[in-house]
């Protein structure tokens, strides 16, 4: 009984609206990652769930119960704040025990269990050696783990984690990711985890909700969101590197649709053409995966002329931005070669895995 | 004489700031005919009425003198420290310093003997009240010229006394009887005002009242009509607070408490005069010069209804008022070539004309017979002829407050210890005993015996 549901929720600060009539559900026992760029309203949504803000319209439901007027402590949730919100005058241990000893939960936690619980959590988060330090002397990442620990310590049925591991180094982040996942596998706590790191989201989530400018763009399992982005925004946001979402002129010749790639016309695959039997949209956006772009020797037949716009090493591969016509395409080079900005190259694009979006609404054109 | 009282302290601070500004921009007046002849004179002064008058008429004064007068006005404690510090300098910073009558004992080692100047300039020294003049006579030296000495005397409301058919009180017994009769006889009227505040005010009250009971607080030599204040030797330093006279004095003060206005335990200096002025008490002990507070105030209830007597005498005592107040003296580290000028200024500032001038501005003090008969002066300050008569009758003396270096400690110990008795925290006997013990210790510490 711990499903978290936002139903037609609107929230405004003064005149500025953060979101209007938003709907989102995190089913019971699921691990939902809320993914979105900075400022899109993720924290606000969490605060609404926690009860630190109240919605201007709509309902917040937890476990099927409307909790709009329930004070935070009565919602029985654990929250890790994005800014930690630790008690600065207390030590790490005191911060961790504070929720257990809080007057409203008197007797819920016998003293005998408190210490072992603190030790367990501290060990899990690798902060056992910091337990007696005052908060002020901790590094940002250490504080973040204490904040996470404080959210976990009571083992609440609902967890709200607002960017709980963003400030850790890569290795630790990786470890913590695994710990969170293991923990969830064991306890099945309904969890909403805010992040702007899509790798993190793809790694831990049962469900990913992509949020943009106060709108939920797509909710679905990671693979689904990754494979079939519902909107141009999701397409350009999810994936590493994500799709290139470009606007290319569309030509209709003899009942066949073609796309103009810098002068070279490519046939739109059959399946897409069927979508336009009756109407042709005024403008289209095409999402092209970097893996669908290939460089070809300049002598090969009918290449697309392109120019190297930028290049960078990412991990063990080389990523290029190619400028084609007025657009930029991402390309991952399988081998490390030397490129200079401005080099003339020739490429080929495979449109079989491309996604088409309505340029007006950004919505995918599903066939 | 008035120790810095609470109110004047503030005025003084302001006045000092103003005086500082004035003296720094003072330009020598065009006329260079007066006593200064274009020169500058520096005076270390006390914030008491006569010097406050000088501050008020500073411009006129400089014009009259034909030069610059730098007046450094200080509070009592600071003045004393500065005088003592100045005495340690090779060359004095001041041409003239103001000295309180009981301070001559402490200062006599570094003041110039003025006898020669008095003689050569032909100053009419017999015009001064004798007690005032001899108050500065120590070890066969004339150490200062009186400028504002006045006695602490006794003032009473003639109208109230006549109404009640009471005799002017010349004895403590009469004082208590009158106080009893008048206390509470009118709304807000108390019997008598006096210095009951802890510390120096009460300490002075005790020394003076003990004097009018017949003994000084230390064992000075008795001489014709009083005690020898010009020649205090170590063996004279024994305190006498366990004498019968001290007990009589204590009993009298304890009785006074019953007929005193509210707040008597914190009453001092000008406050008692103000309460008297507004009709809050029928009698008051008062430094004669301060009668100006009501005599020059048209709104004061007591104005024109007051008569004066010397301190009422105790059972075995005498009608003798204590002389106090200020003298001008020349420090002996003043270079020879400045001394003539310093003397000329002293002569001028203590002249009958100037003394009459001071009375115009709220200083009802005239220690010279010739000024005391000046009709205009008398009209302004009715108290002056009374004081003059007391001086002539030998009812003014200075020995009640012995001029010894420890005088301030004496005031402080008496004023602190006996306050316990007045406040009812201790019996008068115990308070006197404790005071005696502490005074004795002080004298031993100072090495007298």
């Amino acid at each position: 009984m711990s499903e978290v549901r936002f139903s037609e929720v609107s929230k405004r600060f003064g005149g500025a609206s953060v979101f209007e009539r938003i709907d989102l559900t995190c089913p019971e026992h699921k691990y939902l990652c809320l993914l979105g760029p900075s400022g899109c309203g993720k924290t606000t949504l969490m605060r609404l769930a926690a009860g630190l803000e109240s919605p201007d319209e709509g309902d917040v439901m937890i476990g099927g119960r409307r909790v709009n007027d329930l004070p935070p402590a009565d919602r029985n949730i654990g929250m890790a704040f994005q800014n930690y919100a630790l008690y600065p005058m207390l030590s790490v241990r005191e911060n961790l025990t504070f929720p257990l000893r809080a007057p409203v939960r008197r007797r819920a936690w016998p003293e005998s269990k408190i210490n072992s619980r603190v030790d367990d959590i501290a060990q899990l988060l690798r902060i056992d050696w910091l337990l007696d330090r005052p908060i002020a002397t901790l590094s940002g990442g250490q504080q973040q783990r204490v904040a996470l620990g404080r959210a976990l310590i009571r083992n609440p049925p609902v967890l709200l984690l607002d960017e709980p591991i963003t400030h850790l180094d890569a290795r630790l982040r990786y470890e913590m990711r695994a710990e969170l996942k293991t923990l969830h596998a064991k306890l099945h706590t309904t969890t909403i985890h805010v992040t702007h790191d899509q790798q993190e989201a793809l790694a831990v989530a049962d469900l990913i909700a992509v949020m943009n400018a106060g709108r939920i763009e797509q909710v679905g399992p990671p693979v689904e969101v990754y494979r079939n982005p519902n909107t141009a925004f999701v397409a350009g946001f999810v994936g590493d590197p994500p799709m290139s979402v470009v606007r290319m002129p569309l030509r209709a010749t003899e009942g066949c649709l073609q796309i103009d790639f810098g002068g070279r016309l490519l046939d739109l695959p059959e399946k897409f053409s069927q979508a336009f039997v009756n109407t042709v949209p005024p403008a289209l956006l095409i999402g092209i995966r970097p893996s669908s772009v290939n460089l070809v020797p300049s002598g090969s037949p009918a290449p697309i002329p392109a120019r190297v716009y930028s290049h960078e090493m990412v991990g063990r591969e080389l990523q290029l931005m190619l400028s084609v016509g007025d657009s930029l395409l991402r390309y991952r080079s399988p081998d490390i070669r030397h490129f200079a900005v401005g080099d003339e190259v020739a490429c080929d694009v495979n449109l079989d895995n491309a996604r088409l979006f309505d340029a007006e609404t950004g919505v995918a054109i599903i066939i | 004489m008035h120790f810095e009282n609470k109110q004047s302290w503030i005025k003084k601070a302001a006045a000092m700031a103003v005086a500082g500004a004035v003296s720094s921009i003072a330009v020598a007046p065009a006329s260079a005919e007066g006593v200064l002849n274009g020169e500058t004179i520096r005076i270390l002064a006390i914030g008491d009425p006569v010097f406050q008058v000088m501050q008020r008429i500073h411009g006129d004064l400089e014009e009259m003198a034909g030069g610059t007068i730098e007046l450094d006005v200080r509070g009592f404690d600071v003045l004393r420290q500065q005088v003592l510090l100045n005495a340690q300098n090779d060359v004095s910073n001041y041409d003239l310093i103001s000295v309180d009558l009981p301070q001559f004992g402490e200062y006599k080692g570094f003041l110039v003997d003025l006898a020669g100047y008095v003689e050569s300039s032909g100053m009419d020294w017999q015009d001064f009240h004798e007690a005032a003049w001899t108050g500065a006579y120590h070890d066969q030296m004339q150490l200062g010229i009186p400028i504002q000495p006045h006695p602490e005397i006794f003032a009473y409301r003639v109208d109230l006394f006549e109404e009640a058919g009471l005799e002017p009180p010349r004895t403590t017994e009469q004082v208590l009887a009158a106080a009893k009769a008048l206390h509470g006889s009118k709304d807000g009227l108390s019997g008598i005002c006096w210095n009951g505040a802890r510390g120096t005010p009460l300490g002075q009250t005790i020394t003076m009242v003990m004097g009018s009971h017949g003994l000084p607080v230390i064992a000075m030599d008795a001489i014709e009509g009083g005690f020898d204040l010009g020649n205090v030797r170590p063996e004279n330093m024994h305190p006498q607070m366990e004498s019968d006279t001290a007990s009589e004095m204590a009993a009298y003060l304890m009785e006074l408490m019953k007929f005193s206005p509210p707040g008597i335990l914190n009453m001092a200096w000008d406050e008692r005069v103000r309460v008297f002025a507004q009709g809050g008490c029928a009698m008051t002990y008062i430094w004669s010069g301060r009668s100006a507070i009501y005599e020059l105030d048209e709104d004061a209830e007591a104005r024109g209804k007051v008569s004066y007597l010397p301190h009422p005498a105790g059972p075995n005592g005498l009608n003798v008022s204590t002389l106090g107040g200020w003298f001008l003296s020349i420090p002996d580290n003043l270079p020879e070539d400045r001394r003539d000028l310093a003397w000329s200024v002293t002569e001028w500032l203590t002249s009958p004309e100037m003394m009459a001038e001071y009375t115009k501005h709220g200083n009802c003090v005239a220690p010279r017979h010739s000024v005391s008969v000046d009709e205009e002066v008398v009209a302004r300050c009715p108290v002056i002829p009374f004081v003059d008569a007391m001086a002539t009758n030998g009812e003014i003396a200075g020995w009640q407050r012995p001029p010894v270096p420890e005088i301030q400690q004496i005031f402080d110990i008496l004023g602190a210890e006996f306050h316990e008795a007045l406040a009812g925290a201790e019996s008068p006997e115990d308070a006197l005993k404790e005071a005696q013990r502490q005074l004795d210790r002080t004298m031993r510490r100072a090495g007298y015996y």
Partner: protein, 292 residues
């Protein structure tokens, strides 16, 4: 290594002037006071005589000194208590965001600007039994006059009140600034933990304000221990010594009686008392030592 040694030498050269200044203005007067206290030294009366610990011995047996220490302790206790409680409460009141509060706050801190000696004068007249406004009001209401400055049991509290009038705004100001700087988010954590207003106050606000509270209390203790102006203007130690605080007794012996040796012994003792007290205080509350 050598580089650091060199650096330290330069650093030392840089700070040595300030060390000299500290020695000159802090250490030297104290040493000089100790020196004087070992002598029978009466200003302007012959040469000082060495007296060993005589002054301290006399101080030890001087009942008036003991009384003054007690009176000082009483005064400090009540004054700081009153100033703190009221100042703290006012800080909370002023923390409420209401229009005009800023102006009110500025008015409230005015007493701090008043010279203590003037404050003493004002309160002397307010409490005076013959001219005082307060007693006038009391009689208007038909009650007996109160001996604010002459009643054995009241006088010290009158001085406490005057001191509180002047310094409560200071406490208020410091606490107000401290309140303003408290992070909002901690209160959200407290909400999540279900603390009510009262519990939040005691478990969150007070602990977070603790350093400021300790500093302000320490400042007020040290400062009120040195208070002399109000006694000077209002009671001169009366009635019957009930308001004779240590600085006033020191003033009487040192600046009126000019018994410098004795006064210096008293000053040194006072310094030792204050130092011990503040050190204890600081170490107890754990501020002031930077290794924590």
């Amino acid at each position: 290594m050598k580089y650091f040694r060199e650096k330290r030498r330069i650093a030392f050269a840089m700070i040595s002037p300030s060390i000299l200044v500290i020695v000159a203005i802090n250490i030297f007067p104290i040493l000089f006071a100790v020196y004087i206290s070992l002598h029978l030294w009466s200003f302007g009366r012959g040469v000082p005589r060495f007296a060993g610990f005589l002054n301290y011995e006399e101080l030890y047996y001087d009942g008036r000194f003991g009384d003054a220490v007690l009176t000082s302790a009483k005064f400090v206790f009540f004054a700081v208590l009153l100033e703190f409680v009221v100042g703290f409460a006012l800080a909370f009141l002023f923390n409420v965001k209401v229009r005009g509060m800023a102006t009110l706050r500025q008015i409230a801190v005015l007493p701090i600007m008043v010279m203590p000696i003037v404050a003493g004068l004002v309160w002397f007249y307010m409490f005076n039994e013959n001219f005082g406004v307060i007693n006038w009001l009391i009689t208007l209401l038909g009650s007996e006059k109160v001996g604010f400055l002459t009643d054995l049991d009241v006088a010290l509290f009158s001085i406490v009140l005057a001191d509180a009038w002047q310094w409560t705004p200071f406490v208020m100001l410091v606490m107000f600034a401290a309140l303003q700087s408290l992070p909002e988010y901690v209160y959200e954590a407290a909400k999540m933990d279900g603390l009510n207003a009262w519990q939040t106050f005691w478990r969150v606000t007070i602990p977070m304000l603790r350093p400021s509270i300790m500093i302000v209390i320490l400042l007020r203790i040290v400062d009120s221990f040195k208070m002399i102006e109000l006694v000077f203007m209002m009671t001169q130690g009366g009635p019957a010594g009930r308001t004779e605080v240590l600085p006033w007794y020191l003033y009487v012996t040192g600046f009126q009686a000019l018994d410098l040796g004795f006064a210096a012994a008293m000053a040194v003792s006072m310094l030792i008392l204050v130092t011990i007290f503040t050190q204890l205080f600081l170490s107890r509350v754990g501020i002031g030592n930077d290794n924590k």
